[in-house]
């Protein structure tokens, strides 16, 4: 039986970890994900999990140890944020190319320069090309649910890729929310056992992991990652469907909110979707045909489905909680526009940079955005990119 509870996003992730009971967790504290290894340590101290917990001396070693453990054939997990994830970047690529189904609880936080501990997506967006599956959560419930699904997606033989389950630092990780928690047995039954075919500790067959690959082979390895990432689309859908069947909460590659007849729409990821939905509801009451798309799966990127959902939309605000400093906006801006190009042409777009370093986004900001999009439809030129909710 599931139960209703209230807890923070970090707690929700910790409950999922306790239920999954992974073999190895290697983690290093960094705000705002620190609570996760703390919970793990407490669970272990209380005998609630069998996990080998490696309290490493850096995030670089956390990911290195996860790679070692996963290559040795067990479930390996970590949690991190911001600079911690940046310190892992090199190894994120190694984990993906070694095709290791490591699962990371990513608690999004701004990257330093200047130092800041609050939410934005610059950390995981920096890792967007590392070959990890990236799933973003709006709230504690989604963080919990996505975490319960993560291993099955990562470990599927057609995928075998690492997965990061992202939630917004503090906004989601620390705010107490209502949540439905599944009973341990159902959660465990859903996640299942992991018995990989090839690993380092197989006495019947030695294995070499991480060989030097010259030009004659490197590209085939990359091609296999490309195929695995594409295979992940179906696996994510299948696992999400099974989750809906068993747990009653349903998830797609993205959530389309009041998009049926929307003329203006915004696309974003993470916790700000709640505020955005409120703004959409208010506009709808006034007769404005506004809609919102909350992207859940950023890697693999659901380009075709997005082109379909935005067909009929006249102006779209693509909202990035991260600036890529291309001079043209953030990563979502670039990828969503590329997805629309040639498929849903004619949609006016503006890439809004918002919420950096924990800057609050308000219903009023959304009203401004939807207003500008409407003006764009009426012929007023839309800028390619602009910051919103900023001085000056």
């Amino acid at each position: 039986m599931s139960r209703k509870d209230r807890m923070s996003g970090n707690q929700a992730i910790a409950v999922a970890i306790r239920q999954i009971n992974p073999d190895v967790i290697a983690a290093f504290p960094i705000t705002p994900s620190t609570e996760i290894p703390q919970y793990v340590s407490a669970f272990k101290a209380d005998g609630l999990i069998d996990t080998e917990f490696i309290a490493v001396e850096s995030e670089h070693s956390a990911m290195s140890a996860c790679i070692g453990a996963s290559a040795a054939g067990v479930r390996a997990m970590t949690a991190t944020s911001s600079a911690g994830m940046a310190l892992m970047y090199e190894l994120l690529y190694v984990a993906a190319s070694d095709r290791l189904p490591i699962v990371m609880a990513a608690v999004n936080r701004a990257l330093t320069g200047p130092i800041n501990i609050n939410a934005d997506h610059s950390d995981s967006m920096g890792a967007k090309d590392s070959g990890w599956i990236q799933i973003y959560s709006e709230n504690a419930q989604e963080a919990y649910d996505n975490m319960l699904m993560a291993h099955r997606i990562a470990e599927h033989p057609d995928v075998l890729l690492p997965v990061m389950i992202c939630q917004d630092g503090f906004i989601t990780s620390h705010a107490i929310e209502n949540i439905v928690i599944e009973d341990d047995e159902s959660a465990r039954a859903f996640t299942g056992e992991y018995n990989p075919a090839k690993h380092l500790l197989n006495p019947k067959e030695s294995l070499g992991v991480g060989p030097y690959s010259v030009s004659a082979f490197y590209m085939e390895m990359k091609r296999s990652q490309f195929e695995a990432m594409n295979n992940a689309r179906k696996v994510i859908r299948d696992v999400s469907e099974d989750f809906a069947k068993r747990m009653g909460r349903s998830y797609g590659m993205f959530e389309a909110y009041r998009m049926e007849d929307a003329e203006t729409a915004v696309l974003l990821m993470g916790s700000s979707a709640g505020t955005g939905k409120d703004a959409v509801d208010a506009l709808r009451e006034k007769g404005v045909k506004a809609g919102l798309v909350k992207l859940r799966v950023f890697r693999p990127f659901p380009a075709e489905e997005l082109a379909t959902v935005f067909r009929g939309v006249k102006a779209l605000g693509i909202m990035d909680k991260c600036d890529g400093f291309s001079g043209n906006g953030g990563p979502l801006g670039a990828e969503v526009r590329a997805a629309l190009y040639g498929k849903s042409d004619g949609i006016k777009t503006c890439n809004y940079i918002f919420g950096l370093g924990g800057r609050d986004i308000k219903v009023e900001d959304f009203r401004v955005i939807f207003g500008e999009l409407k003006d764009g439809i009426d012929g007023k030129p839309l800028p390619d990119c602009r910051y919103i909710g900023v001085r000056g």
Binding site: D23, V24, A26, D50, T51, E52, I54, A55, V56, E57, S58, H60, S61, A62, S64, A65, C66, I67, G68, A69, S70, A71, A72, G73, V74, A76, E90, L91, V94, D98, L200, L201, N202, P203, S206, L207, G208, V209, G210, P211, Y212, S213, V214, F217
Partner: protein, 314 residues
């Protein structure tokens, strides 16, 4: 701990665990060290080998080939010890759950670049956490894989491509870092320093002790590089012997905190003779540079006396 009496012939009958056909240079010290260490594994025991990015790694596990009979993992340059931490944790988890009957040992190899420098934090962390593993540094005193750049292990006044000798430079201006001593300061059960001497008894026994001591162990092996040190390939063991006889590279162990000197030359070989065997010190033999050799000799003498004192001698 009791081991059977050592004979090179007997021990050489063991199956090689590093197959021939790898791409390391002739006269390279590193594979000699790897084979010597792996010979200390009981034939019935299995191992997972980790290697830092290095000459050894790129030359012994080049897709789709591997020279390693045992399972092998390489992830990056600076994290070999942390990688092994993860493998060992997985082993413990599997053992606890009754999913594995066989005994595995965890042996990690890194060059001095991957050990003294970029991988030092990862090594220190794994040792402090008590990972049941042996970390073997094959110390060739520079970054050889990228083309002979200085490391913190490069000795004073050695010529490397980033401590170049010229009109205004006599090579690396700093002394070599004393890593073995730093590892001893981690108070791990076993730390030893060795190289290729005589019938390889010293390295064999140290490797055996390191592998079969519970908990973390660190083995530092002087492993000359013919390209970087500039010597004739056939002179490898002569150079190692000179390093030991001149007290540049003393043979010692630290067993549960007790320092033991394994070899004291009856008559110390002047450091000059060791240096003269290697092209990287050629510039020191110009008449005007004699004082630089004296400086090296003083440094070696000072460290040797310090070591003797730690070992309770003199």
């Amino acid at each position: 701990m009791s081991f059977t009496a050592y004979t090179l012939k007997h021990i050489s009958d063991r199956q090689e665990r590093l197959a021939p056909g790898h791409r390391m240079c002739a006269g390279c010290g590193s594979t000699v060290g790897v084979r010597a260490v792996l010979r200390a594994l009981k034939p019935e025991d299995r191992a997972v080998i980790t290697s830092a990015t290095s000459c050894l790694e790129v030359s012994s596990c080049t897709y789709p080939y591997t020279s390693w009979e045992d399972s092998f993992i390489h992830t990056a340059f600076e994290n070999a010890a942390a990688t092994t931490s993860g493998v060992e944790a997985a082993y413990i988890a599997k053992k606890k759950k009754g999913k594995l009957d066989e005994t595995y040992k965890f042996i990690t190899f890194g060059g001095d670049g991957g050990t003294y420098d970029i991988g030092f934090q990862s090594l220190s962390g794994a040792m402090e956490r008590g990972t049941d593993m042996v970390y073997v540094c094959y110390d060739n005193e520079a970054y050889m894989n990228t083309g002979i750049q200085r490391s913190s292990s490069t000795p004073l006044y050695a010529d490397t491509t980033t401590s170049a000798v010229g009109a205004k430079s006599n090579g690396k201006p700093q002394f070599k870092k004393d890593l073995t001593k730093i590892m001893a300061a981690h108070h791990i059960p076993y730390v030893a320093q060795t190289t290729y001497i005589g019938n390889f008894k010293d390295i064999h026994q140290k490797a055996e002790t390191a592998i079969y001591t519970e908990g973390p162990a660190f083995l530092n092996i002087l492993a000359p590089c013919p390209r970087g040190w500039r010597y004739d390939e056939s002179n490898l063991t002569d150079i190692c012997k000179a390093a030991v006889d001149s007290c540049v590279w003393p043979l010692f162990e630290v067993i549960d905190g007790e320092w033991v000197l394994n070899y004291e030359p009856k008559k110390k070989l002047p450091v000059k003779e060791y240096l003269a065997m290697q092209g990287r010190f050629k510039h020191l033999f110009k008449p005007e540079n004699e004082h630089l050799i004296d400086e090296i000799q003083d440094g070696v003498d000072c460290r040797w006396e310090e070591l003797r004192s730690l070992c309770g001698i003199g």
